[in-house]
Subunit: 319 residues, 2 copies
């Protein structure tokens, strides 16, 4: 158990909405096909860079509060390779001298950053950590893969984490990674394997590629084990959870959680309105739940889901 509290949440949604009717023409599938396969009715399209989106979400989270003493970027879509995006987020905020870095675990980046930040605060290395996830990945959708192309959206969200003497805490967490899923969700470019500009590269190398049904099967093989480890260790059942804040992978993915036994009415489901916003998906679900008044201090919430790797991770949090 780590005695930290998410003291505030922040959200930034790009203004431009792309409906599934609009996307339909781009990917050669009907609006109905898109919605029935992916559950996504509309998504946001960023017209600003990720660091600007991140700064807006960060300011929303900070409000009138003091600056953090540490900043962690937990986003998948970088602005550039060097320096890491945390530096550009700090600059956009007009700050300097605050230590910052990035954590990359694809869609689970926020949750991994949350655990790392909580441990750093517990160790008294920092008092107040800002975690920001901002995704501007829609230009990287592979329009020849209608199902994955229809999933993604852009958004940013942030949280501020502090030590607490109240009842709030991160109770426990569990994560596992199965590298046999590495090619099931990938972006092959932007590294030494397919260096930018290499003549052998094909356009798909620099787009999101996802084999949805295969990912789903691999998740089904492993997710119950990860959840069982976490809940048994804490002597809890799914019924003890007051609210489920999940990675919004897809409509069918959200239904999968119902089949696993999560009570539908306790799942915050925003996938139809915003799609899968990669690493921003979990903190934006949290921020929206917070804005809707769904998070009460002392409640037990489960935060987690799946990410490329394949990785599966969940944290039990006493809000």
């Amino acid at each position: 158990m780590i005695d930290v509290r998410i003291v505030s949440t922040g959200l930034y949604l790009p203004a431009r909405i792309q409906t599934s009717a609009e996307l339909s023409a781009l990917i050669g599938r009907s609006e109905d096909w898109i919605i029935s396969r992916t559950g996504v009715r509309e998504r946001r399209i960023a017209e600003e860079p990720m660091n600007r989106m991140a700064a807006r979400a960060a300011l929303d989270a900070i409000g009138d509060g003091p600056r953090p003493d540490c900043l962690i970027n937990a986003s998948l879509t970088p602005l550039q390779l060097i320096p890491d995006s945390s530096v550009f987020i700090q600059r956009e905020l007009g700050w300097e001298s605050i230590p910052c870095w990035s954590i990359h675990a694809t869609c689970l980046s926020f949750l991994v950053a949350l655990m790392n930040a909580a441990a750093l605060i517990q160790a008294n290395l920092y008092q107040r950590i800002l975690i920001v996830s901002a995704e501007a990945g829609t230009p990287w959708r592979n329009l020849n893969q209608p199902e994955s192309a229809a999933l993604f959206g852009d958004a940013a969200a942030a949280v501020v984490l502090e030590k607490t003497s109240e009842a709030s805490a991160i109770l426990d967490w569990e994560m596992s990674t199965w590298p046999n899923g590495a090619e099931l969700t990938e972006y092959r470019g932007c590294g030494t394997r397919k260096p930018p500009g290499h003549p052998d590269n094909i356009p798909e190398d620099n787009l999101f590629n996802m084999m949805g049904p295969k990912v789903f099967r691999l998740v089904l093989m492993h997710i119950s084990g990860v959840l069982r480890a976490l809940f048994e260790r804490n002597d809890m059942t799914f019924d003890d959870v007051d609210l489920f804040i999940l990675h919004q992978a897809s409509g069918p993915g959200m239904e999968g959680f119902v089949k696993l036994g999560f009570a539908r009415e306790k799942i915050v489901n925003i996938v139809a309105e915003y799609g899968n916003c990669i690493a921003a998906s979990m903190p934006m679900t949290l921020a929206i739940a917070n804005a809707r008044g769904l998070l009460r201090r002392g409640d037990r919430i489960l935060i987690g889901g799946t990410g490329a790797g394949l990785s599966i991770a969940f944290a039990l949090v006493q809000w």
Copy 2:
């Protein structure tokens, strides 16, 4: 203070050596010019991907010991954008189900990962964490920038971190980031700013670019303050340090530490033999110092240096 111990270190050096005489023809500068400007006599050139180098360094660190329960990749040069390189390192090791992710703070990635890992162990979330840094960045040298092109080398190094009841500990650390240095050391490609394949990209966008003298001036403005904060808080002076394990930025950079007051004979200097191996630089210096018998349990060592951002960070470690 965090009661963790680096229980072992590992190293992997690619076989191919590129001398400064050999590099001379590629960058249009004499061997003497290269050595006097950068201090680098030779560097290794990887012929294998970073995940294979990482796995070899990891196995060297693990030896006959048990597998870790967490794996953190702390490398700058990724294999591809998704999944993050930790997944490919785990696969190369033939493992599965071990939680893994990546931390990116350019040349300081290892040190940031060390602090995060130490805090996670202190919080009892993991018992034994493997941190690996592997860099295969020499193909990204900008041969039109002779000074930066002569600096970089490839290598991999790893450490295993565990909780300890012995005298070993991470005593404290200090890090700051100044985003006004963002453009002084950069790789502009591989993100949303200069997406791969975009017609406006120029070749330099996908190469390392560094304005050495400007970086040096910015470091000089700030490094004393970071060190002073750390040493004053711990009531220590540079004389209390038994060994300096520093980021091997360049020959002149290493001389800069002597001018700051670090005793030359206590600095482990490997820059002439291996160049600047980005995030692998610090752990390989540690691994080489360990192999040479320079690290005695109970000794106080300072690990740190500078990274793109500009970031400056140092940790005080009781070995």
